[in-house]
Structures are given as C-alpha cells and as structure tokens.
Symmetry: D2
Subunit: 341 residues, 4 copies
C-alpha cells in the first residue's frame, strides 16, 4: 500500500539514527543542558540571522504552541488565528485549556488577511466596551498553513506592522517550515521570516526528525524562566540531548533544506500529474500538502491501493482529499499513485 | 438627563429594601443556609414546576455562567454559543479562563439556528479527526438574547432534541428572563422553558434586585458539591440571605412578572414611538432592549439630553443604538425621549 | 438564642441601609464608574496615606484573594502562607484552581515567623534544582490572623525586608482589618500597614457592610487592566456603586474604626469573663475572635443556649471553641454568655 | 569522569536502537494507533495480570503525573502526597497549574504513613467546614520513593483500604518502578502492585528507554476520552510507535527486569562499599539511589573525579549526597568510585 496520509509516517533521516547510536554510551547531562543542544542552538541562531535569540527545543507541535503562546499572554489576553488554524481547530482546545481564547478570523486559503486583522483591531479598540472583551495580544499564523499555502513577504511585513501598531506579538507555527521555505515560488527565507516575527518554531517531527521542534524567540528576555514553564507543562525531556542532537544534524550541511526540497519536488510532480489528468485543485498549494476535489466513487476505488486523507464533503458527489509528501517520499510511490488516478 | 443606557442603573424594587431593613438586626446563619434562601428556593421551584430542582443563588451573571458552565464540562469539552452570545463576546474570556472553548455559530438576530447546530454536530462526528477537536457538550443560549430577540417554544424544543441526540446540555442565560417571559408575543412560559432545558438562571440584577441571579438546575445531581465549586470560584456570599431574601420577595405576589411587564409596556411605547417617526429598527425586539439605526448627527444631538448606548457603525452615516427600559423606567421619561426624536 | 458563631451574621450598620435607600431611584453608571466609588476611593487613599494607590472594590474575601494574588503571579510562581492561612485551608483551593501553589510554612499562633520565611527563601535558592520548583513570589499574611493574633510593626517590617531581598510581594488579607487596627495593644496603624506592604484589603463584610472589601494596591501600575481581570473572574458588580457607597459611609466620620472598636470592647469583656472563671485560652487573641479550651460536656450544655463554633479536639476531653464578637454584638448578649459559663 | 548524578544520563538499551533502525523506513500510522503500540500494550497487560486495563504511552514522568492525576479530579478535589513527593516538590507546580492542590503529609523516609493518611481523612470529614476545603480524592505515592525507599505489600494494602473507605483513587508514580520491583528485599511484585492500585506508570525514561512511560489504568473506563485529554496537554507523540516499540522491546524476554536487576546489583555493591568504609547512610535504600552523609571537604575532593548529586546540608560540616546507578552503570565505575572514597 502506497501511503500519502501525512508527513510524519516514517522515522528519521538516517544521519540522525546514526548519531544517536554513536553517542548511546556517553553520559550526558539532563534537561537540555548539554553540548549537543548548545551546538544546535548556535547553528539555528546563525541560520536565522539572530545571534541573540533564545532557542528552546520542544517535543511536539501542540506542546510548542501551547507553551509559547500561553507563556506570553496575561489571563485576559487572547490570540488571533485563522478559523482553519491548527490551534483553533485541531489541538483539542489546548490554548483554551491553559486559559486563553483563540479569536478566529476568516481563512483565505488557510491564511489570515492582514487587512482583516487591521480592521478587527481597529473596531476592537473603537468599541468602548472592549475592557469586557478578550484583548488580542498575539497573531498566530502557520507557514505553510494547514492548506499548504504560504504567506508572501509583503503579507508578513503587513502583519508585522499591524502587530507593532497594536502592541501584539507575531508568532509562526512552523510545523512544516522546511516545506514552506523550499517551495519553488516563495519569497520568504528563514532570515526574513525571523526578521519579521517575534517567535516561530522550526518543525522537526514532520521534517526529518524522529520528533522535536525548535522554538526561536527573537528577544531572549521575552519569556523569563522558560525552563520552569516548560517543566511545569510536562514538556521537558530528561534526555534533552535527543532533541539537540537531531537539530544539530538537521542544521549541518544544509540537511534540513535538502530533505525539504525533496518533498517539494515530489509534491510538484504529484500536483502536475493530477492537473494533467484534469483534476480540480481545492487549494493552490506549492508545498508538500496537495488538495484535490475527487468524486466519491473514485476515492473508494483509490483507497484500495493508496492511503490518503479524505476530508470533508465538497458537494454531494465530491470530497476534498489530501496527499502529503515528505522528506521520505519515494519517487516510485508518486509514480504509482499517478498511474492509479 | 433621561437615561436609557441599560437595565441595571437603579437600585431595587422598594419591597426589597424594606425587607432588608426589617431583618437587619437578626442573626442569620451564613453562606445561604438560612430560612430566607429556603423559602425563595421553594417559591422558585414551584414557579418553574420543578419540585426536585436545585436552586443556587449567585451574585452576578458572568459568575453564574462561568460556574454553571464550567462545572459541567470535562477539560476537552466546549460550549456552543451564537457569535453574539454574552459568553463569547462580553465576559472577557471567563469561560476560556476556566479552560473551555466557546464554539461560535452564526447569530440570527442574536439567536442560534437549531438547524445549524444540528448540522455542526453532524459534521463534527462525521470528521474522523474529531478526537483532536474540542467536543461540544453544551448549547448556551440567552433568552432574551443580547439583541432582545426571543426563542419560540418550537425552537427551544428543537434545541432540546438536538441536545438529546448528541448528549449535550442545554443552558439558558436568563439575565433578562423576566423581560422575555413577559413579552407580548412569546409562547415561552417559565414552566415550558424549565421543562425543555437542563439549567437556566433567572436574572435578578437587571430585574428588580440590587444584585443576584437564581440558577435552576433541573437534575439536582447534575453538579455534585456545588457549594465547594462556588466557594472555590469566590462566588459564595457570606451573608447569603441577602440573595434569598431578594428572590423570596420577587417571587411573592407575582412581583417578578409584574415589574417585568412594566418594562415591556415601556419598551413597546418607545418602540412604537420610533416606528411612528419613521426610524428603522436594527433588530425586531419585543423585549426591553430596542435597537434602532440612527444618523450620526442625530445621535450627537440626542446625546445632549438623553443617554443611551451607541453601538457599532451601521454604515458611514449611521450607527446602531440601543435604548433599554427596565422595571424602574418612568413613563414620563419615555415620553420625553419620544418628544426629542 | 445568643449567637457568637461568627462576625458576619447581621446586616449592615444603619447608616449604610439609609444611604442605599436614599439613592435607590437615582440612575447611576454601572461597573463602579460612579461618584460614590470615586469618593470612597479618595477617602480610603487618604486614610492609608497612599495618594497614588489604586483602590478596587470587590464583593467578598475569597474573591479578593483569588483575583489579587493570581493577577500578580506568573504560572510557575507561588505564594507563601502560614499553614493556618485562609487561602491554604478554607478557600477550597481557589488559588490552586487559578493555577498557583500555596506554599505553607508553620503557623505560630496563626502567624508566619519572618525568620522562617527568610530561611525558606535562603534554602530555596541554595538548592540548584530550584528551577524545577514553584518559585515563591508573594508572602500572604492575614491581619488579624485566623486565630485572632496580630503582627507587630517589627514583624511587618521584617517581612517587608525579606520580600525586598527576594523580590517578593507582601500581601495582607484584611477580612477583619478593623478589628486588628483597633485592638488595644497593637502598634500597627492603617498608615504603617499601608507603608510596609504591596497590597492589602480592608474588610467590609465582617466589619459593618452588607458585603464588600476594598483592595488597596500601593503601586497603581502593579496590575494593569485590573477591570478586565475582575470581569473575567465574575467579580464585577453591575451596580458597583453599592460597594462604593458602603465604603464611603464606613470611611466617613471614622465610622469604620468606631464600630470596630466596639467589637474589641465586647471581645475584651468576654475574654476577661472567661479568664476570671478560670478557662484556658487556646490562642492569645486581643481581637474579636476569642478561642478557649472547653470540656466537651460543658460545650454540649452551653450549646443549648448559645451558638458558637466548636473547632477541633484539643484532647480526648476538650475541644477548642471560638466566640466571635462584631460591630453588632450587644453588650447584654456578652453578659448573658458570661452568666452561662 | 565517573558519573553517578542520575539514572537518565545514557541513551537506551541497544535492543531499542536496533529496532528503531530496523523499521525506520516503514510507513506507520500516527498517534499511537499502530501495531507496535498494540503489541506492547498486550505484553504489559499480561505482565500486570490486568487483561482489561487501559495502557497509555506517555513521553515523560511529569507529563504522566499531570495528565493522569488531573484527568480524574473535579475542580475542588486534590491529591495527597508525601511532602517529599515529586509532584509536591519537583514538578514546578504542574498539578496546581492544572488547577489542583497537592495536600502534603509528612514523609517517613520518603513514604506516606498509612495511619497518618487515615487520621487525616478522619479529621477532614469530622470538620464541619470541610465543604470549604479541598477534598482529597487521590493518594499519590512513588515506588521507589524519591529517597529510594519501598512500600511493603502490607503498606500498599493499608493504603488501598483507606482509599476504598474514603472513595479515593490510589496512584503510583513508577518512574523507577523496575528498580523497585527488582530490589532484593521487596515483597511487592508487578502483579500485586497492579492489584492494589487504580493507576500507576511503568517508567521507561530511567529504565532502559530513550524516553517514555507506560501508564496503566486498571479500570479502562476511569478516564473516558483519554486521547483528547492527552492531545490537549501536548502529550501526544505524532510518531507514537516510538513509544510502543520501546516498551514492546522492554517487555520482551524479561528485558525490563533484567536491566533493572543489574542496576540493583550495582547499587548494592556501591552501598556495601560505603558501609564498609564507615560512611553513614541518610536513607535506608535498597534500590538504585543511595544516599550518604559526607563531610563537605570529602565532597569537594571527590567531585574532582566523580560527579554525583550534592543535596541539602545535613549539619554545618556534612551534606547529603546521592549516587544513582542505572541499567547502564558499569561495574568498573562502581569499583573506581569505591577506591576514591
């Protein structure tokens, strides 16, 4: 069975397994206070062009969002997200469980429209009852979004400007960041992303690591006592070097970008194959997630030989489906899929 | 200055002040364990036709919503509300602060559309990723709504049926319940409201009391240890008899309905006056809140002599305004207002 | 039946009821934004010698503690209290429910020993695992304590100094503050209390008001957006003037002190009466709560004619009992009690 | 440098690394819904003698405690722990951050005394103010404790009986469970532990795994929707098979016990060596953590060649120190340490 269900179905790039094995007998200090973490942090800081940033290794995406977002909000403050945003829909209310409202705005192909954010903020403070309302203190975006789309540099700058105007933080969920940075038509680089936002995380779980995300906090004083907050959230890994070692590997010899680019090449091939056969795209994605509108009977037939995610109904005859490539996708699998459709 | 800003601008019906004064020297047990509370509870149970219900006296509306809603939800469960619902907009995230998502659905003149709730629930469980999502466990409505509108008995029954189908609780915010039950064209009585919902509160703060709300919990075993939850929330009044005495007074000799009816008569007079002069209504309200669309310059002129709430812009020339009557509204004030418009 | 159960068994000083009645028909702005609140705040600021302090009116003691304490702590920070402290024992975990640990230290007649607080803090930071532990950020004391005892000015200053050394806030629960300030042998005045602490509340519920506490925050910028936090906690009273008016009354013509002093005089008479008859005191209290050690059969006999609080067992034959006087205690009641013992 | 700082300083038993590498290219379903997890659960259920138990794989110990404990408590309920308990001291208030009080009782060599728990519960319900207090709903113990001590089977049964009497749950933190079960003088087996408690976790992080704990919930209906709670807590691992595979390996061919036994043999050798040289033990531990009282200058000298944990001062000349062995401890390292002392 060929599988395109998601981008976290396989282990890790071989380099990571090799390195873990190679230091398995070393006695290493716990909780992330070790040389592998230090080295990885240095490489990430350099790649981001942020020599003074704090880099914190986390275990997974929901955990990273939960800790990073709620550590910076006061009790009556909330975070703006697209109504398709992961924190709004698919984290089982993790942000709310920690006490904060996620304020949803319309999704445009998975993205927030900066103009709508500006309008929301303008109206918010124009309403004299605003002290009775949750005060927006952060804008959350995902890049790529849950629909595979990407912000342009201009859009990022527009959001930055709105956040500055209204004293809000700009935070990027980069669970699939590698697949965004290595898309063919993006003008957003890691450095200019880093320049325009306050915090973001570089996804490892979906991009070559066994697990792990690297949270980059531009102003290292933004969240004092981060370790204690992480500990309190059950987010500290005793063998923290497992995270450092993986990111050190991914940020050596451009590995993170190289494996991401592979997923993009596979996605583009897949995308073109569907287009060539006349399938309709649901979202115009240039990253590793490709969405199409398929007839229900076609889906049933395909499911016998390929696994993939069938999303909601598009109309009574069609559903939206998603095919995800990853760093581990084999070209032969894409070719087999294209033969089947 | 004539004031129609809101319905909680004046003290209490004189009967309440008289009774408080009359027992001021009595030594009464604390925390609501007193005869006045017992008597009030009996009268409320009888008025609701719910001889076995639990009745809990609370201090204010946000507190009642916060305690009642969050005491019945598990950590990953949420509450559905209209996007205009008080808990969604104007309680500063009290529900989220206690850990729970408020799931918003479109507002239709302030109300939820039962068909849309049904559709939401159907789609929710049809989506195989639902364990990653906040599970709706309660439907919150306000009656009257924040826009003055009222559910019909058929709508209530439809919501009841959906809640039964999906094992959800139906909860009614009755901050202005008296003004709903005593509207001229409603078919919802206290008894049939009580029959169709799981919990609701009878508003006192806006309907004749100095402060206080009576939360009615149909199944008295729904929230075990309610007192401890109330205490923990800072919601226990040491001199609990102050609440019991007020509700005992309001539920004696039909006082609650009589004073509510007065507010309705005043609102109807006000409404007709505006209609007669050709003003456009913003929401078709038959309760104590009346919404109109006024020209901005007209608003400025009026504001010199009358105070009222100016809501958001309707268009570049107009704003939405609200005039609220209450149990304390003087007929001469309505007449003066009508002369001014 | 003579009642000495507690100090919140009767309504309010007559002056308060009179004033409420006198403005019952006035239309007053909501949420505490009114002239009565403003006037009360001014008087309290002056009485405290803190012209720049923020004064916030709250409804009850647990609510005040919960909001004031948790609004100033970050998620991993906690508050130190005596193991007999109200927040540690009798608020049903309100502080923990808001996410914060109450760190208990031994009680010495209801009080914290400043030397023990200092020792705790010294050891805390000397332990290199402290980032894994809840960081003490506040010291909570009650004055008078739950056992009726009082801090001396030297003790307050010692706590102040420790708090300064370890960057902690010093907070005083003044539910019975009037009874502390008006004890015969105290050297703590309202002004020097105010000078030495960061926040405290002046209890109204137990000292002449129907309900209400006045929270004084020395640095008015300590808790930005206090209103929103209060709203979110269900702690905003729609008719906020009810609180302002009561405190305005209590802080006019020295009423608060005068009525407090009455309770002290009654307590001293009661205390002397017990001593004269050879009863053993459980705690050496000079405030309105008097604790004695009574034989169990004596308690049963007394309970037929007097009500009071029977606390835990002292030994197999004796229990600890508490008699509370208040602003409303009648001298004839004290005399009757003394005849009965 | 020989290192005895803790028991999580090295990677994993080689069998685990080998298996991860062997399936690195397999496409495996996410979130723990895979065959490796299923297989591991079966083996654990069998080892525990609990064919119907729920087994949930978690990432770390604090996370497991936080999720398992708070998922079973209502908002006003708390958990009893020894004052040395990990949740009381070293999890940065994770339980409180989720809203619940940890109620501390005295530590006896790291353990709760069942008689004191019983006494506490008796007094709790005898105090008529108990609805104002946090209601104990769970007893937390660690086995081995933080001081290396072990409960006897009789003590476990006594706690079980108290929990039954007061309708409390009994939960065991088994971060080092293997080192407890394989101590030379214990009468507690995995099966009789499982029989006497409601929930416990089998530690992997400190016992041979890279990371991971297996939470065993005897009544599989105790925590409905466990997955959603886990997701909400940021505790779901996308590649859940990483946990299943590790526990499957540990529970094959008695590996978990074998590697644990090795740590015990090393600890016993270390212990005997210290005793032979006349050192005083701080706690009488038969598990992998050994505590001694050392002179401060001896500590400084030793620290040049060995790393270990220096705990608090014992007296002005001495400190308490801890040496931890693990599944990975080399016999030659123990021998070198013994030469140095």
């Amino acid at each position: 069975m060929v599988k395109f269900d998601c981008d976290y179905m396989q282990g890790a790039v071989p380099e990571i397994l090799t390195r873990i094995a190679s230091i398995n007998d070393e006695q290493i200090d716990g909780y992330g206070f070790d040389g592998y973490c230090d080295s990885a942090k240095s490489k990430i800081r350099e790649a981001c062009g942020l020599p003074d940033a704090d880099v914190e290794f986390m275990i997974g995406g929901t955990q990273t969002n939960m800790v990073a977002i709620t550590a910076t909000l006061r009790s009556f403050e909330g975070v703006i997200a697209a109504e398709t945003g992961h924190i709004y829909v698919h984290e089982c209310g993790a942000i709310e469980n920690m006490g904060h409202k996620v304020i949803s705005l319309p999704s445009h192909n998975g993205k927030l429209d900066p103009a709508e954010v500006k309008e929301y903020m303008h109206k918010f403070y124009a309403d004299e009852t605003y002290p009775h309302m949750v005060m927006p203190k952060m804008v959350y975006i995902s890049h790529p979004t849950e629909l595979g789309s990407l912000y342009t540099l201009d859009e990022l700058k527009a959001l930055r400007s709105i956040c500055d105007e209204y004293k809000m933080l700009l935070y990027v969920d980069g669970a699939r960041l590698g697949y965004g940075l290595n898309a063919s038509n993006t003008d957003v680089t890691l450095k200019n992303l880093a320049e325009n936002v306050d915090m973001f995380y570089i996804g490892g779980t979906k991009v070559g690591a066994l697990f792990g995300e690297a949270l980059v906090i531009k102003d290292k004083n933004l969240i004092p006592n981060f370790f204690s907050i992480k500990k309190q959230s059950g987010a500290v890994l005793a063998k923290g070097w497992l995270l450092g070692l993986q990111f050190d590997t991914l940020f050596t010899d451009n590995l993170y970008n190289n494996i991401s680019r592979h997923a993009i090449v596979m996605a583009e091939k897949l995308r073109q194959g569907f287009i060539d056969k006349g399938y309709r795209m649901y979202s115009d994605s240039y990253t590793n997630q490709q969405f199409f509108i398929l007839k229900k009977d076609k889906i049933e037939e395909l499911k016998k030989k390929v696994s993939f995610a069938a999303w909601e109904e598009f109309d009574s005859d069609h559903r939206i489906v998603r095919f995800a490539t990853s760093w581990a996708t084999g070209e032969e699998d894409v070719e087999e899929l294209l033969k089947l459709i």
